[in-house]
């Protein structure tokens, strides 16, 4: 019950803040749409006409996923930095629920809200390009949710770093391009990336949407790798976060910015 109350409180806070910062939210959506347009017109003008459809479909899924990974993976890190700047971070640490639970419920709330934005972006991109993907929600939603777990793990690692270092904005900006690379590079080109967080999931969703696959048509080994990958990154994320918390408490860094 306490978990549920925590989730409700943090979902409500995220929703209220998103509403109050609506111009920001809108600007974010427009920015991602412009990025898609740049990719789309690039394909139109300089792409190979023979593979036009496949390339556009690939870029639609990639841009949407890049936006989602960027918002999710940077979220807790940004949250920690913002809370430290506002002066509320120590107050969160006074909660008997534990900060990792607060952050986890916040990210769940954020993810739910961002998913709405991403659906808008997806339909805007499909409408603009005239390329309609097979959404297959019964297949894509479980894969996205499992993939999300690994993203949360990385997000906790970044947050741990933010607790100690605080000024990580520059790192997060560079990190966006690393994420872009991970999302856009197909696993067939670099199979080793299956060990990186979320790449396997993004690849699976892309395949499902473009090739119209169902859950039963996905190889068992692919699902196993995805599950293992997400579980390992999530646990690693929590371990790193707790370790960083301990260091911050020992050195007295929680209240500093």
């Amino acid at each position: 019950m306490r978990w549920l109350n925590l989730l409700k409180a943090n979902f409500r806070k995220e929703y209220i803040e998103m509403k109050r910062y609506f111009p920001n939210t809108l600007a974010l959506l427009v920015t991602f749409y412009i990025i898609f347009l740049a990719a789309f017109f690039g394909i139109v003008f300089i792409g190979d006409p023979a593979s036009f459809e496949a390339n556009v479909q690939y870029s639609i899924v990639s841009v949407v996923f890049w936006s989602l990974t960027m918002l999710t993976m940077n979220f807790i890190g940004f949250s920690v930095v913002t809370e430290a700047m506002r002066g509320t971070l120590e107050q969160l640490y006074m909660s008997p629920m534990g900060v990792w639970k607060i952050m986890l419920t916040r990210i769940i709330g954020q993810f739910a809200l961002q998913s709405i934005l991403m659906i808008i972006l997806l339909f805007a991109a499909m409408g603009t390009s005239g390329q309609w993907l097979n959404l297959n929600p019964m297949t894509t939603i479980p894969i996205i949710l499992i993939t999300m777990v690994s993203m949360v793990g990385v997000s906790f690692m970044i947050a741990g770093l933010a607790i100690i270092v605080k000024q990580i904005q520059a790192f997060l900006q560079i990190f966006q391009f690393v994420l872009m690379g991970l999302v856009f590079i197909p696993l067939s080109v670099a199979p080793i990336l299956a060990f990186a967080p979320f790449v396997k999931g993004v690849n699976l969703v892309r395949t499902v949407m473009i090739e119209n696959l169902t859950l039963s048509e996905i190889a068992f080994s692919d699902v196993t790798i995805l599950l293992l990958n997400s579980f390992i990154y999530f646990i690693l994320g929590l371990i790193v976060f707790h370790r960083c918390e301990k260091i911050a408490m020992k050195k007295g860094l929680l209240g500093q910015y």
Binding site: M1, N5, S95, P96, M97, L254
Partner: protein, 324 residues
């Protein structure tokens, strides 16, 4: 009385980032706080108060020693111990400025695992008690500093914890709001059996609210005493001497050399010397200064003293008080 907080021999040393030099912030501090007690934690800037408070809250790990909150070790069972304690650490900065007054109260309750329904009545009560009812739907951003400070304290009270820690509750507030806040805190102390630890430089707050004070200086406890006892102790050594004529330059020099904190007022018809003596026998030295040129002494009276003067005396001459 039951002990709710037990601080046993805590130490904290920081390492300076640039020079790698070790700085001891807290050096072997021990004290207990009893249930229902209002304790003032005082000390000059850099004395080690904040480090002590943060260690009690579990936000800072001590190098040695232990802190028990209701029998739970804050370092080993931090989350369980935090169920018994809430705090206002950075005043109005502890709030979400883009949420309304009510939303802030509900959000912090939710963060402790409480539902909006559970705290509804309590939120209404606090809004009334802190005179925030009319502002409940306003963004914190638009409130005055005093209102924000009141809300921060209301947030700390909402959790119904046994212990509340208030770090500088009246810092930066004007006289009127500071007085209002003091009155509200007095009501809380009177009506609710909570243990409150107040760290403040606002001595009227300490004098009015606290049962007991601990004064920390240079990382150690220099005084752990009942407020009334401290006042009584110093009251017996505060004198106002009225002289029939001004002192000579030599006498003035001697006076300030021996009693640098004394107050010397030269008026048209009378000269007044106000002094707080470290030792009762110092009165003889004072008389000696007047005797030097046989200055006329009209009267010698004991003066009243407030806690601010007591604090200054202790911080400047801590060893004397310790001996006493």
């Amino acid at each position: 009385m039951e002990k709710i907080i037990e601080v046993n021999g805590i130490h904290k040393t920081y390492v300076k980032r640039k020079t790698k030099e070790k700085v001891t912030a807290v050096n072997d501090i021990s004290f207990d706080v009893h249930r229902g007690e209002v304790l003032g934690l005082l000390g000059p800037n850099g004395a080690g108060k904040t480090s002590t408070i943060k260690m009690i809250c579990g936000l800072l790990q001590s190098d040695q020693g232990s802190i028990l909150i209701n029998g739970l070790d804050i370092q080993k069972k931090r989350l369980k111990a935090l169920r018994h304690i809430s705090a206002v650490l950075e005043g109005n900065r502890n709030l979400y400025w883009r949420l309304t007054v009510r939303e802030n109260l509900e959000y912090f309750a939710g963060n402790r695992g409480l539902s909006r329904k559970e705290v509804h009545a309590q939120v209404d009560k606090l809004l009334g008690q802190f005179h925030l009812k009319e502002k409940e739907n306003e963004l914190v951003n638009g409130l005055s500093r005093g209102m924000q400070q009141k809300l921060a304290i209301a947030v700390a009270l909402l959790a119904n914890t046994d212990v509340i820690l208030l770090d500088e509750p009246t810092l930066g507030l004007d006289v009127e709001i500071s007085y209002e806040l003091r009155e509200i805190l007095k009501t809380v102390v009177k009506e609710e059996d909570r243990t409150i630890i107040i760290s403040s430089h606002d001595m009227p707050v300490v004098q009015e609210l606290c049962d007991r004070t601990i004064i920390i200086n240079k990382g150690t406890v220099v005084v752990d005493e009942n407020v009334e006892n401290s006042l009584r102790f110093f009251e017996t050594r505060a004198y106002s001497i009225k002289l029939g004529e001004p002192l000579s330059r030599e006498q003035e020099k001697r006076l300030f050399r021996k009693f640098p904190l004394c107050n010397y007022k030269k008026q048209q018809k009378q000269t007044i010397v106000e002094v707080n003596l470290d030792r009762s026998e110092d009165i003889y030295e004072l008389i000696d200064i007047f005797k030097e040129v046989e200055t006329i002494i009209d009267s010698i009276d004991r003066t009243s003293i407030d806690f601010e003067q007591v604090f200054m005396q202790i911080v400047k001459g801590e060893s004397i008080y310790e001996m006493a």
